[in-house]
């Protein structure tokens, strides 16, 4: 409780004071006179700007994340015990993710660790697949197709993605279900005798996930490739470069920020997906977000859910940093 208030005050103060310190220190040291924030915007507008931005950054973004972090290090207590002597920090929930309940037969909590590993691995694979699928289309739309045709293609791409995420997953259920179109076709044409349970084998889930976020791969790449002067491609061709080398040496380096952005978005959304695994996942397989949801919902252990969520957040941050390092791009170029 007390350190929670401490964090709150520290962040608030830092954000409130930092610009002032800088401004005044600068002004006193060098005698600069410059129109300051309030002079420039007037009292009314300044108040609106500051209140709105502080509400968002502090109350909506920073504090909930910090509090969730703090919360994940606390015991799951009854309301009466909160703030009492039992309300101390603990690694209990992180230990649980790694080792399970104390005294379990298994040394490690393989069930949850496997789910975690699978979530990350599959998300990476889906990201790679989506990139392979999208790059040709993005290149075609940005460099080959002209005017009206390109606009029509863009429109056609956007349309499916205004359809609800859940409905999109539902569409894949219709496609892959035991009574679904694919099974009816397979059985009808005599390839298999019995319908295959694609959902149980998670084929439906993987297909649905790679489908769900494909737009977020195409558009950043499309925007990046579009800004490439087509003459560069022609020049490379003129100099005798084969097509694959043109892409490898000219187009891809130019589109690097877009590719980084697309890969980051798809990975994040995949790893953080909840609807598609709930609808398309087989009964025995889980996605990491589903475990978080279970702790939060039926499991009734919010701090443990918070701990799992925090682990997911860390992985996402690591991934973003890795992408920034590998592609050598700045954060601002990824989140555009």
């Amino acid at each position: 409780m007390s350190d929670f208030i401490g964090i709150f005050l520290a962040v608030l103060l830092a954000i409130l004071i930092a610009p002032h310190v800088q401004k005044h220190a600068g002004a006193i040291l060098s005698g600069v006179t410059r129109i300051n924030f309030v002079q420039r915007n007037g009292v009314l507008i300044s108040t609106y700007l500051i209140v709105a931005v502080l509400t968002w950054t502090v109350v909506m973004i920073v504090l909930p994340q910090l509090y969730m972090m703090d919360y994940s290090f606390r015991h799951n207590l009854l309301p009466n015990d909160i703030g009492g002597p039992k309300d101390v920090h603990t690694l209990e929930h992180y230990r649980y993710l790694l080792f399970g309940r104390p005294g379990d037969v298994e040394l490690m909590n393989w069930l949850h660790l496997k789910v975690f590993g699978r979530t990350i691995l599959v998300s990476v694979l889906i990201t790679l697949v989506d990139f392979a699928l999208c790059y040709p289309i993005a290149y075609y739309m940005a460099q080959v197709a002209k005017g009206g045709k390109a606009r029509l293609l863009v429109l056609c791409l956007i349309l499916p993605f205004w359809v609800n995420e859940i409905l999109r997953a539902f569409a894949f259920r219709i496609l892959f279900g035991t009574g679904g179109v694919i099974n009816v076709l397979l059985v009808g044409m005599g390839f298999v005798d019995e319908p295959i349970d694609f959902l149980k084998a998670d084929v439906g889930l993987y297909a649905g996930l790679s489908y769900a976020y494909i737009l977020l791969m195409i558009f950043p790449i499309y925007n990046a490739v579009e800004s490439l002067d087509h003459n560069q491609v022609e020049a490379a061709r003129d100099l005798g470069s084969p097509w694959w080398r043109i892409h490898y040496r000219v187009v891809m380096p130019h589109a690097k920020p877009g590719i980084a952005s697309g890969c980051t978005m798809v990975f994040m959304l995949c790893a953080g997906a909840l609807a598609a695994p709930q609808i398309l996942g087989g009964p025995s397989s889980l996605w990491f977000t589903q475990i978080i949801y279970q702790w939060f919902n039926t499991g009734g252990n919010w701090p443990r859910g918070a701990a799992y969520a925090f682990v997911l957040l860390i992985i996402c941050i690591v991934f973003v940093m890795a992408v920034m390092r590998v592609f050598n791009v700045r954060f601002g170029e990824i989140a555009k």
């Binding site: 006179t33 410059r34 129109i35």
Partner: protein, 363 residues
């Protein structure tokens, strides 16, 4: 109504950088006053201090005798015409012109009337309903002037407003601006890096370099009697000869240049032994053509000749990397030297100035 503008020892700093250093001058009521200098010389900073977008770090800006410190741009009796004009693209021409009245709460009827008057002043009477984006460059220019005049400023500030126009239109607008100024009779402060604009339109010009006001005078004086090496080298073409002063008397000084002793007017009080530069304009240099001369003779090889119709430009090998240029009237009787040949040129000491060594304008 018109007002005078005073800069009383104004210094403006941004961090460690001093944009304006101790500017001290007075612009009279109804004067057309220009600040001339290369980009980054601090002229725009002065304009912003006068219009109220920043306050000086030291010193005072006074308009009509009143200290303007802390008074915002919307409270000052000035109007600014921006380099890119900054017309409001979403408003009609008439709404642009009447904007200053609108924010002052003037009634719609009054606004309409005043906008119509100004539209006829700038000869755009039937264009009030158009969007400003539908106007030509010159028309936009005039709308910007009308918009500034609508608020009846005592001082009109112009920040290189002609720089976006093509050459022909620019020359046309010079005449028009001067005419408008004479008609409305208010103080104009004009910022430019184009010496042609400054010299043709202004009553007085302040030449600036690196935050320092170098000289304030009318155009003729600035050209004929530059006060510093910077002004001499920035305004018009000039040939510099450097050396030590060997003799200074009766308003003249002699320097020992690489080409021998050269004499020119000494308005800056140089004394014997001072490092100095003598400047002589290309049109003041003449070919000696064998005639005997007692002083100011320069002998050098001809590097290049350019035929320009009315006159011929001849370049001789100078003391440094820069050639000595002279303009010779093309009157067919003059015998021109061959390229590569050594020739002798002379000049009248009355037309040369000797100035202290200082920063030169790089062209």
């Amino acid at each position: 109504m018109s007002a005078d503008v005073e800069l009383d020892h104004v210094t403006i700093r941004f961090g460690d950088f001093t944009a304006v250093n101790d500017a001290n001058l007075r612009i009279e009521e109804g004067e057309f006053f220009s600040f001339l200098g290369p980009s980054g010389c601090g002229k725009t900073t002065i304009l912003r201090a006068v219009s109220g977008f920043l306050d000086p770090s030291e010193g005072e800006v006074r308009i009509g005798g009143k200290n303007m410190w802390g008074i915002g741009p919307n409270k000052r009796p000035t109007a600014l015409i921006f380099q890119n004009l900054a017309l409001f693209p979403l408003m009609s021409v008439a709404d642009n012109i009447a904007f200053g009245l609108e924010v002052r709460g003037v009634s719609k009827f009054e606004r309409r009337k005043r906008a119509d008057e100004l539209l006829s002043l700038i000869a755009l009477s039937d264009q009030g309903e158009k969007l400003v984006t539908a106007l030509s460059g010159g028309q936009r220019q005039r709308v910007a002037i009308a918009r500034a005049l609508a608020v009846e400023p005592e001082v009109l500030l112009l920040d290189e407003p002609l720089s976006a126009l093509d050459l022909k239109l620019r020359q046309h607008m010079r005449t028009e601006l001067r005419a408008i100024q004479q008609r409305v009779g208010i103080t104009f402060i004009y910022i430019t890096h184009d010496q042609g604009e400054a010299l043709t339109m202004s009553d007085r010009v302040a030449v600036m370099s690196a935050g320092v006001v170098q000289q304030i005078d009318n155009g003729t004086t600035i050209y004929n009697d530059p006060a510093t090496a910077f002004v001499a080298s920035f305004v018009g073409e000039n040939n510099p000869f450097s050396g030590k002063v060997t003799k200074a008397d009766n308003g003249f000084a002699v320097i020992d240049s690489k080409f021998g002793p050269l004499r020119g007017r000494n308005n800056q009080g140089l004394k014997e032994g001072d490092d100095a530069i003598l400047f002589i304009r290309p049109e003041a240099l003449v070919l000696a053509n064998g005639k005997a001369q007692s002083e100011n003779v320069v002998e050098a090889a001809v590097v290049n000749e350019e035929f320009e119709g009315q006159f011929v430009k001849i370049y001789l090998k100078g003391e440094g990397p820069k050639d000595i240029g002279l303009s010779v009237i093309n009157d067919a009787s003059t015998e021109l030297p061959e390229e590569g040949q050594t020739t002798r040129i002379v000049f009248d000491p009355d037309r040369a100035v000797v100035l202290p060594v200082g920063e030169m304008a790089d062209e």
